[in-house]
């Protein structure tokens, strides 16, 4: 005899404000199969859960319906609760009477009627539930980190320290990412290279980390615990084993004047180059577009001068397929292209630069050896204007969001200008000053008090150039909204704090590895508050700015968190998976095979079935042995999408947890 227990939750007032919980519980008593029904203020709380367990014992309930918030919130909680109450965790159904009822309706009677229907559907379904044994899949003990910036390096180090092997894939010739381009970091003014390079060296020397430079992830198949990843190792034309990193080839390479991406096109590099002195791995690569040999067929100077004979022009892209248990995505960010801002004259005025270009100017290993110089005529600027929120908080031409880190790095830049250039002026045009981190406010105040940075509250409307050569000035036309006056500044150089954006190919990349992304193309976390480093695709984790704009402290913290999640996953030999898998009723299956091509995980295959068949005297009392083909579902591969069940005309395939009977029971329950 099936005995259902219905438990209606008030969720404080969230549900009870527009649903009569008492009436709902009373009405549930009259439903067929319901042996017990009650309501309580907080069903998910400890007293609430103990009430359920007691009710199960007392009334001999064998299946439970909880009418509360969305199953996406507490389905696992209540499954564990009835599990410890002695029932199979899958003898449970949840009626979502909060997000899809009390919160979206205001008419109390109609909402209560709808809640009654939802409970009715849940009870009808739970009467058809069966006990489902959970199944296990093997977990491959190897992790993949995509993106070699500080996020990727930190995640890789933290995973490797726990003993699991990590592959760190980086698209550029060297790991280090944006942080390698930065000079100092806030709020401590540490030199960025000094705190980054040791971590890069640790990563390169760590026995459990393999750095795969100059490579990109091509394809990801499989699922949590068993990702089959294809990686394309781009042709670098330099044999990384033979090469000693002496740099002779870069010195002798004839085509030198190629704008260096690492230097934000302020400096130049040869055709065979490694991006920066502390590059890891410090092995050069050949830039095919600008290499004279590839363009004209004549040159090969680098091959000739190379003592280790490491240059090989016939090098081809190479595909590598590796299996991983977990993936950390740390692909980082890029900067907003401020040529959208015609009024700031980017592209016309050489001295209007972005924050990253300023970092290169002020960096000791940068194109100007650390001396802040105007890109137009290499003179030292006296009045430097900084403009914040270029592309951020801008619905018209940029992004709605705030990029979090610009307030701090602009304060840092302004402090460095005042510090490095004698009797200079640093003027920051701002709308708000956002200093949310530890010692951030103090860092900003120090810039104002000790270094005399000037803050003008208002957005700049326009920048235009006046004068020629030496006394060429950039006239910055802004407003001080606190004074209510228009403000003009004759600036020598203007630094724009441009918005942080995801990588240009972020959307395509997300689809390639199977995670979702938001309307700004940042990757979507499973839950903004409670699961910030996980994604909805089990086994894939996020770290750093690819999930949203953030500064280095938050990035490193997220990298550690992602690593912890990966290790938690890899520490299990087997992973318990949801028993929501397809099941074949071999008696009905005619072996037509229509279901096989439907499955995206190739979980269905033919197997042979031998059975005794009765039915005719000739076959004698023991019948005849017959062999036939039937479909068979591999529980390990099946992810429970149910697409195959619809294709099965014989109705032999069904999805446990969402069987045809259960769904039809829900449909019928309302009439």
């Amino acid at each position: 005899m099936k005995k259902v227990g219905v438990f209606v939750c008030h969720c404080g007032t969230n549900i009870s404000q527009t649903v009569h919980c008492e009436k709902l519980a009373e009405a549930a008593k009259t439903l067929p199969g319901v042996a017990f029904s009650t309501e309580y203020k907080y069903m998910c709380s400890d007293p609430g859960q103990t009430m359920i367990k007691e009710a199960i014992a007392e009334h001999g309930l064998d299946r439970v319906v909880v009418a509360a918030c969305s199953p996406r919130m507490h389905e696992t909680t209540f499954r564990k609760c009835i599990d410890s109450g002695g029932l199979n965790p899958y003898m449970l159904e949840i009626a979502n009477i909060r997000e899809q009822c009390s919160w979206v309706h205001s008419d109390k009677d109609k909402a209560t009627a709808k809640a009654g229907d939802l409970v009715n559907m849940a009870v009808a379904k739970v009467l058809k539930n069966e006990q489902l044994p959970s199944s296990f899949i093997p977990v491959h003990k190897r992790a993949l980190v995509i993106g070699g910036g500080i996020a990727g390096i930190q995640a890789a180090l933290d995973i490797a320290d726990t003993g699991y092997h990590v592959d760190l894939v980086e698209r550029e010739p060297s790991i280090g990412g944006k942080m390698a381009q930065i000079d100092k970091t806030f709020p401590t003014m540490d030199c960025s290279a000094c705190i980054l390079t040791p971590k890069m060296v640790d990563a390169s020397q760590h026995p459990n980390i393999t750095i795969i430079p100059y490579s990109e992830v091509e394809k990801v198949d499989g699922y949590v615990g068993n990702f089959d990843v294809t990686i394309r190792r781009k042709a670098s034309y330099v044999d990384s084993v033979k090469c000693t990193g002496c740099g002779l080839c870069s010195e002798k390479c004839p085509s030198k004047k190629i704008p260096s991406e690492f230097e934000c096109n302020l400096g130049t590099r040869p055709a065979i180059y490694s991006p920066f002195p502390q590059a890891i791995p410090n092995k050069p690569v050949i830039d095919r577009e600008n290499c004279r040999y590839f363009k004209t067929g004549k040159c090969k100077i680098c091959a000739r001068v190379c003592t280790a004979d490491a240059v090989n022009f016939e090098d081809q892209d190479e595909m590598v397929q590796i299996r991983y248990g977990a993936i950390v995505v740390a692909t980082g960010y890029t900067l907003y292209d401020h040529s959208q801002y015609g009024e700031y004259g980017y592209g016309h005025y050489k001295d209007v630069i972005s924050g990253l270009e300023f970092e290169r100017l002020v960096n000791a290993s940068g194109p100007t050896m650390g001396k802040i110089k105007r890109p137009s005529d290499n003179t030292e600027p006296k009045n430097v204007v900084f403009i914040k929120c270029v592309g951020s908080r801008d619905k018209a031409r940029g992004h709605d969001y705030c990029s979090r880190a610009c307030c701090m790095y602009t304060a840092k830049h302004a402090t460095m200008v005042r510090d490095k250039i004698k009797d200079s002026q640093a003027i920051i045009f701002y709308m708000d000053i956002r200093t949310p981190g530890k010692n951030y406010e103090e860092f900003y105040l120090r810039g104002v008090e000790e270094y005399g940075v000037t803050y003008v509250r208002g957005r700049v409307s326009r920048i235009y150039e006046e004068g020629e050569g030496e006394n060429r000035k950039l006239i910055v036309q802004g407003e001080d909204t606190l004074l209510g006056k228009q403000v003009f500044v004759d600036a020598d150089m203007v630094v724009l704090a441009t918005a942080m954006e995801p990588q240009p190919d972020a959307a395509g990349f997300a689809r390639k590895i199977g995670i979702s992304y938001d309307q700004n193309n940042f990757f979507s976390e499973a839950h903004p508050k409670l699961r910030p480093v996980e994604t909805l695709s089990a086994g894939i984790y996020l770290a750093g700015a690819c999930q949203g704009p953030k500064d280095i402290p938050d990035t490193v913290a997220q990298a550690g968190a992602a690593a912890a999640k990966v290790v938690a996953l890899l520490s299990k030999d087997e992973m318990e998976t949801e028993p929501i898998v397809a099941k074949v009723d071999t008696d009905r299956c005619s072996g037509c095979g229509f279901c096989i091509p439907i499955c995206p995980y190739k979980a269905i295959s033919f197997t042979d079935l031998t059975e005794r068949v009765h039915g005719s005297v000739a076959w004698g009392p023991t019948g005849k042995e017959v062999k036939r083909q039937v479909a068979n579902v591999n529980n390990g591969l099946c992810q429970g999408c149910g697409a195959c069940t619809v294709n099965c005309r014989a109705g032999a395939l069904d999805l446990l947890g969402f069987t045809n009977e259960q769904i039809l029971a829900e449909v019928d329950s309302l009439w």
Binding site: W103, K114, P600
Partner: protein
């Protein structure tokens, strides 16, 4: 996840599709506009529908996208009519056209099948099958005389709360003037 099966051209000829293995061109929602409204449906004239009558609409919502979108509509307290009952399925691909027919037989006045946008499906190819099956299903519903405005397929992602509200409200407003769905209604009701 797996892209092994090229979703757009499914190799086996599905019995229901008469030989069309070419990927259907329009991944967009199947909107009522594309469908021809059969002339003979006895759309009840406005006056004899009880003024406070509310249609009852069944929504097959895929767990990873549309159900999440509906939850988001709840989180943002977006109000919409109480006419819908959501039935959670793991993927829109799980929604068997027979469930839709069953819903109309039992007396639902409208059915909505909603899943992830093509390309975003958590199971990679689930919604491709939905798209293909329901493009045919709508033709069948037209053929048997059910007013196509009562049946809708669309894509609602987990971050599109407002879209869920808008689709539900729109669907209710379209179906309300059509009155109760008599066409497939089986008074006796199939014994469950």
């Amino acid at each position: 996840m797996v892209n092994s099966l090229d979703p757009t051209c499914n190799t086996t000829p599905e019995p229901m599709t008469p030989g069309s293995t070419t990927p259907n061109p329009t991944p967009l929602e199947i909107s009522a506009a594309e469908l021809t409204v059969p002339q003979n449906t006895s759309a009840a004239s406005a006056k004899d529908i009880a003024s406070d009558w509310e249609p009852k609409i069944l929504v097959f919502a895929c767990q990873y996208c549309t159900y999440a979108g509906a939850d988001l509509a709840g989180l943002s307290r977006l109000q919409y009519p109480t006419t819908t009952r959501v039935l959670r399925v793991p993927c829109s691909g799980r929604t068997n056209p027979q469930f839709v027919i069953r819903a109309f037989q039992k007396g639902f006045d409208g059915v909505l099948v909603a899943g992830c946008h093509p390309g975003d499906c958590h199971f990679t190819t689930g919604n491709y099958f939905t798209r293909r099956r329901y493009l045919l299903m709508t033709r069948l519903m037209e053929f048997i005389g059910l007013d196509p405005r009562r049946f809708r397929v669309c894509w609602i992602s987990g971050s599109e709360g407002p879209k869920f509200q808008q689709v539900v409200t729109e669907l209710t407003d379209t179906i309300r003037p059509l009155g109760p769905s008599q066409k497939l209604w089986d008074e006796g009701g199939i014994s469950s």
